[in-house]
Symmetry: C2
């Protein structure tokens, strides 16, 4: 019936959905772990938790970093950003990943783009030994601009390091800053305004003072701190963790202090990465604003006893992640005190 | 520094975010169950699984039904749509809800809107005895139009009815159709085109042949089938479930048939709800297209042994949900055969 309204006429392409689904199935299969019980395509993914253990879950999005992926037509890294972000969040609660699920929403489903996104997800899931258990790919005409999409993720882990979150800090405990890999997934509304509007750059231009392009710098992948921190967590040397995301060091480190301690952070203890120096100089933003918006070079903050700090630093560095002693815990009222000296 | 670029200048309102957060905290607290271990505001939500039990997880979005919420400025029902959709998905895998997490993404965070969305989530979580463990509210300038947002959710349950999913069907097993409450969350791209573009209606106009408005009809909440089906599942009378979402009865019932059986569905066994009759008449779409796009009045299909069908029908009806015997399982090859006679 030629005048019949069809789903294709309403802007939803079921054939493209089928193509994308079969490619996703393959990528998902590559992340299967012994915890997974169900087959791909079930109504829900079944998995085993370690009996008697607590679980921990977290939800997150990639945020406006996605705009950099759209502008540069590179879609195979944002999935890893999301998985690693989620892994770090549950790590800060003592969790080791079990399963991950994604939500991809787009205006028009482009199988190549969706497959690239899922490639990034599955790569990071394999690295973190986490099963990509399932997800939802949603075609929503009139919601997203052509070529654009949103991406969110959900993770469940087992609480493998329960001692971590007891918040039993002591005066004199040490702060270790673990190096970030660029901006991770925070501050992108700010940096897009700065780089594209104020500086007039495009994603293919060289980033100021660098051989790398703007896209190269701004798409660097949010790092997973699981491999760097696992030994220290298993040995009980790492007492608390703060994942440095929105709100920066002050906004996140304060979440683990409780009400009786302050954290003194010496921001001069680490070399400010080039991209943050450029952002600081061109924006004219205050140090306070910068540290609340960006990770400023530290993507995770670990707290150890004074006696354990050297061993922990060695372990983290041995895993290939730069780390620096950058402050300590003192009596106080739950505040983070940034000292530039 | 007046020329300093600030986050507020980049379109992100941290004060609005704080307001929304405190209101969300209150709503979340109301959904707390004995499974929840962590406090609001942790990096990840900790919860207990029943020891030794399998878990089941699912991710979903509301889809373009959200556009109806935007047009009518009613935001307190779509959260319940999402939770109930997720509850039904894991129910079809034998799961009882433990925890739910949400992802809300918007261009500009409007605390009233976000609070209304979370009100819908928390209401449905309480009804389904599921903890709203946490979530992510993401402000993404340049992504979403003013007043618009996307909403996705993630559920984890324990597999409480493991016998359900063994797919041990027999020739002569009966199909029970459980009544939907309107369109649930599928077919909205189609119906928006039909109602707004072709019929020229607005959300406040009366739906044709009805006293209710277009918004009233199109925002009716996706129903949770947990209360209706729990007795039959606990007694082992319900053998398999198909949640009727995207793909309709043919696309979803086929998922539980395996390779040796067909399902014969008599679509004349139930009275087609008024809204679907209007959609059929005005669109001129074929029956096949209609049944692949909409639930057509059946939101969940349950399979029982012949001897259990009357008891199961009575139980479902006793819970307040209409249900009808509408077909049977026969030898075949995994196909759904719709018969209109």
């Amino acid at each position: 019936m030629s005048e019949g309204l069809t789903y294709a006429g309403a802007g939803v392409d079921l054939e493209a959905a089928r193509t994308a689904k079969s490619r996703i199935a393959e990528l998902v299969e590559g992340t299967r772990t012994e915890a997974v019980v169900s087959a791909f395509g079930s109504f829900g993914g079944r998995f085993l938790a370690t009996p008697g253990r607590e679980l921990v879950a977290s939800a997150d999005g990639v945020g406006t970093k996605l705009k950099i992926a759209f502008l540069s037509d590179r879609h195979d890294t944002v999935g890893a950003d999301l998985v690693n972000h989620c892994v770090n969040d549950i790590l800060a609660e003592g969790g080791k990943p079990l399963i991950f699920m994604d939500y991809i929403a787009c205006g028009v489903l482009e199988p190549d783009t969706v497959a690239a996104v899922v490639r990034g997800l599955s790569r990071a899931c394999r690295t973190n030994r986490c099963a990509l258990l399932g997800g939802e790919t949603s075609e929503m005409p009139d919601f997203y601009a052509a070529g654009e999409y949103d991406l969110a993720g959900f993770i469940v882990g087992e609480v493998a390091f329960p001692a971590l979150t007891r918040h039993e800090l002591e005066s004199g405990d040490r702060l270790i800053g673990l190096a970030s890999n660029g901006l991770h997934t925070n501050g992108y509304s700010f940096v897009r305004k700065l780089v594209f509007d104020r500086m007039g750059l495009s994603v293919d231009d060289p980033f100021p003072g660098s051989d790398a392009s703007v896209a190269d710098i701004l798409l660097r992948t949010h790092r997973s701190y699981l491999p760097a921190l696992q030994p220290g967590l298993e040995a009980g040397r790492v007492r608390a963790l703060a994942h440095i995301t929105g709100g920066g060091i002050p906004g996140n480190l304060s979440r683990v202090l409780g009400t009786d301690f302050d954290a003194v952070v010496r921001s001069g203890a680490w070399k400010r990465p080039h991209e943050f120096a450029v952002i600081a100089e061109v924006s004219g933003a205050s140090e306070e604003e910068l540290f609340r918006t960006f990770n400023m070079g530290v993507g995770m903050m670990a707290i150890t006893r004074e006696k354990d700090v050297e061993t922990t630093l060695d372990e983290i560095r041995g895993s290939g992640c730069e780390a620096v002693l950058c402050g300590e815990i003192v009596r106080g009222a739950g505040k983070v005190r940034l000292e530039s000296a």
